[in-house]
Amino acid sequence: MGRYLIKRSLTLILVLLGVSLLVFGFVRLIPGDPAVVMLGERATPESIERVRAQLGLDKPVYEQYLIFIANALRGDLGTSVLRQEPVTREILRRFPATIELAFGAMIVATFLGIPLGILSAVKRNSWFDASSMVVALTGVSMPIFWLGLMLIFLFAVTLHWLPSGARLDANAQYEPITNLVLLDSLLQANLALFAQGLRHLILPAVALATIPMAIIARMTRSSMLEVLNQDYVRTARAKGLKERSVILRHALRNALLPVITVVGLQVGILLSGAILTETVFSWPGIGRWLVDAIYARDYPIVQGVTLTIAIIFVLINLVVDILYTLVDPRVRLDA
């Protein structure tokens, strides 16, 4: 295990180098000179040259890359072109919003998806099975920008139960520590703020959770069905064990492996898929920031955010692989 971790950490560095190279190259493939975009229609050739020099765009590309990597290693991801803000600081400020959203969605998706999948498998071909599938599919076939608006309409406008967007009320008093509102409010023992943050999180998290939830539910169902037919489950039943314990103790554990892979994959989708949710719910995360930056050709932001997302993906994959061994000891990682 220890050796495996070391090996993985080493490959991790290679992966990150690969990603950084890819990001760096890709960003430069986007047509449109950032200097031109920044200066707008009234730009003069001189002002364009000046801004290009300012952004370091007049240097050869490989030199730009080396500078980018050298600075990134020191934690400096550059300065935003449009707003002159240090990218690292802004990522630290905005990423927690996305993490909170993705985490909330993941909780909704797994805690609803897995039980739904188990129940569907156990009550196979029943009314419940078909309904849960239909509900899951409804979620999948509704684009987030539509589902989100519907949720807002129902819960914010008509019922007035929940706010329509943003992380906190407009007049909320919040002194950020980690920028994770829920965590900070707990650290500050401010339960009212926590409740407010939670209320704001519910709708976007549910909207974002629909697709992963559907996939997780379906995957759990099929995986469970497979396992329920295995000999050891029959044996367990034959031994007269309670159905509940057969399912939860024996079947579920074995059924979880593919589910874990899927959950891991969904985390990735959640992080980058949060963009639309963030737009519909005015959520101040990095997804929207990234899209705006792409449109404004704000290279430093695009590079910085992408690299950060990549690091998180890679770490999640590592966790997923380690979880494999915990759930299924037969999988040997350092084989």
Binding site: M133, I215, P258, G264
Partner: protein
């Protein structure tokens, strides 16, 4: 293929316990046929294909024809609560008209074609690439597994959207981007981004299956690796593959809509002679801005997408069950 199987299923069915096992697929078909849900799914999927192929014959109107002064019409049968603008419908437009006066039903029918292609072509590519790489990685293990998985890490950790945006921005004006209103470019981008998911799932399942006794048994009798992968592992990991694939279809249809949302979707067609006139994704997108004023414009494509997704999922589930040897006699 379907008809021959139907013709031949009865004797096989009756002889199932006495004769030596028939081919996997024939056997599966006979089981599939009994599964009403799967058959329903099959009907939906076939209907979808038929709509895509014969659309021009079925559509009552030219999907691009603008009927002046007929914009914004609700369906005649629309209940009042679905009709906030209080216009009266016109019987010749069964699903009403859109904001510039085009027939929604005809657009929906024509849109099936693009959505089918957008969903199916990349799915085939994704599935083949994903399964081969995932199987290979999971089965080989060790360094090969490590390398391949780290490669998927790189592809996977690169945000989809950035990739789409860059590809669409960079290549939109190239010959690739011009081809079929930008469709070919869209396929490529969708496929490149999406194969990783299947590869990882397949690899995960393979890791677990290859430790099973029957694989060891196969090894011990000298079965070749390729044969083990194809004949022993693949059939056992079909269900996650089917699920992911069934979900890939709606995801691709919706991704196309999302790209449109970001201004990167297909170009609108200007002549109904073109092969690709509009897509369900574009219709969903047009519909979402009309949530308050023209709800039916969104309902129609949303229900269409949902039915197709349902079709693929029911069929996929049925296939999964039918292909599972342990399910004999059930379903």
């Amino acid at each position: 293929m379907a008809t021959t199987a139907v013709a031949g299923h009865r004797p096989i069915d009756q002889a199932i316990n006495t004769k030596p096992p028939q081919g996997l697929w024939v056997d599966a078909w006979s089981r599939l046929k009994k599964n009403k849900a799967a058959m329903f799914g099959l009907v939906l999927v076939i209907g979808f294909f038929a709509l895509a192929i014969f659309g021009p014959m079925l559509a009552p109107h030219d999907p691009l024809k603008i009927y002046d002064g007929k914009s914004f019409l609700p369906p005649v049968w629309s209940p009042d609560f679905l009709n906030p603008t209080n216009k009266t419908g016109d019987p010749q437009f069964f699903l009403g008209t859109d904001s510039i006066g085009r027939d929604v039903l005809s657009r929906l029918i024509y849109g099936a074609r693009v959505s089918l292609v957008v969903a199916i072509v990349p799915t085939i590519f994704i599935t083949i690439l994903g399964i081969s790489l995932g199987l290979f990685a999971g089965y080989s293990g060790g360094t090969i597994d490590n390398l391949l998985m780290r490669f998927t890490d790189i592809v996977y950790s690169f945000p989809d959207l950035l990739f789409f945006v860059v590809v669409m921005f960079a290549l939109r004006d190239s010959f690739l981007g011009d081809w079929a209103n930008g469709l070919i470019l869209l396929f490529g981008a969708l496929a490149i981004v999406n194969w990783v998911g299947i590869a990882r799932v397949v690899r995960g399942s393979t890791l677990s299956i290859k430790e099973k006794e029957f694989i060891e048994a196969a090894h011990s009798i000298g079965t070749s690796d390729q044969s083990i992968m194809q004949r022993h592992i693949l059939p056992n990991i079909l269900s996650p593959i089917i699920i992911i694939t069934a979900f890939a279809v709606p995801r691709l249809i919706i991704t196309e809509a999302v790209l449109g949302y970001l201004g990167l979707g297909l170009r609108p067609g200007t002549s109904s002679q073109e092969f690709f006139v509009t897509s369900w994704g574009s219709l969903l997108l047009e519909g979402q801005t009309a949530i308050n004023a023209q709800p039916w414009m969104l309902l129609a494509p949303a229900i269409a997408v949902a039915l197709v997704v349902m079709g693929f999922t029911f069929l996929g589930d049925g296939l999964r069950d039918a292909l599972d040897p342990r399910m004999k006699g059930t379903g």
